[in-house]
Amino acid sequence: MKKYVSYDKLLLTCIIVLFSIYLSITLISTSFADYTTTATCSHTALGVQYSEVAHPHKYFRTCKSCNTKVYVGGHATKNHGDGSWGSGTCPQCGSHSYPIPTVDQINASLKQHPHIVGVKCKCGSVKYTDPQINPDCSSCISTYNIKSKSATGNSVLYLSYLDGDSGAAISTTFPVPVKMTFQSKYSKSGSNFTSYSSKITCVFQSKLCSTRSKKPTTPFRNCTSRLLQQFEFKVIHKYAICTGFKPHACKSHWRKIFKVSHSKLLFSWSNWIRRRSYSSTQRFRKINIYFLRGDYQ
């Protein structure tokens, strides 16, 4: 006996199934509204497009008839920032950008161990720089095993001059004792050598001359840096005049004259350098002395 399902029952079942599906979809839509916002309506009169305040700032239009918020696809990208009202920025859009620490910030950080600087992104996020090593800080000295070394050297420079303003010029020569000192703070671990600070001074010990260091200190960060130092040297020998020769011309002029004497200023730290296992090419540091001009007095 064949048993037939009535048309009404079939229709009812279909309605129930469809209604269940509708309910499920509605429920899912409600639950994930924040994420999908796929609400739609059958009306055609939609308002102006706007982007949602919350990231990712999806584009919506509001139905003028039923007030339904309709996602119309895509999203806005705002400038990176703190997201404050009216700023047009969002902390999640774009990427962080941290400024380079200022000299004042770095100097301030050197006063307190650990020597770090907090730099702030426009969005308010703070990043801390890698700790700086302050060779004068007792905590750093013990942490990084920083040592000090100094060396001194003396030499005599022989300065000749010509009077450029005089037709009957005659070469005269006088001695200039020079004292050079070198100070360095460094650490050494195995084959790694790091110099944290270095200072070279060059003093002309003569009343006849005066010097000013063009760059009084030359900090260098590793042992391969060249320790070339330029010193400007002015003759204030009371009766030495070489006016007329321009400064730069005089400079090379005198340097040429003292080529041999100049080489005596090779400053050797071979003793301590040897102990530190430097390569032979680094045993000598030549101090460059620029004779500015044998110009006046």
Binding site: V156, G164, D165, T173, P175, Y239, G244, S252, Y296
Partner: protein, 215 residues
Amino acid sequence: MKKKTAIILCSVLAVIIVCSICVVSFGDEISFLKSLGISSKQSDDTVLAEYKDFKVTQGMVNFQKRAASLAGDNTNIEASDYTKDAIIDRLLIGRMLVEEAESRGVAATKAEMEDNLSSLKASYNDYPEVKKQVDEYCSGAGLSIDEYWTQVYDQSYDQISRTNLRILLGKDFCKETGYDGSVDDALMTDEFDQYYNDHRAQLLKEHQSDVKYYS
């Protein structure tokens, strides 16, 4: 045998070349001062310019040119400083500066000249290197040491006078610019160099009518 001889000859030649290079490389200073001395002997009295009773001769110009060329294997040397005209003007200005020093009452005194000479003599006696350099110059110039000191003494009048004037100008500079450091410090500044060079240029301009050029 021939091969061995060739090797020995080549070695000897190489040693000679190396020695020559060393002599040339390390002998610059000596040869410079000696050359300078030799140059100072070469005189040419042809007058190129005249300012009152002061005459600029071809010999003076040649000497400065020679000094510059001896020192001038460097790109820093400006050729314009060593042209004939530049040297003539420089020497004329040198004379004008001495005159100005005299008119402003800061010309060299005998005591200053003697003090300068004794200071240089002391260095000559106390430092062998100074003696070596001075002797080198004298041998080139064909001067005895006494003749050398006499020339140094004579030359010092102009030098000291110009130096004293320069110090005076340094004081003027401090007053005019309100420089708050010492005069000694002011003399070290590039600003004063400019001031001094401007003064020199102005001096030549002012006395232009008294200058006669013959070249």
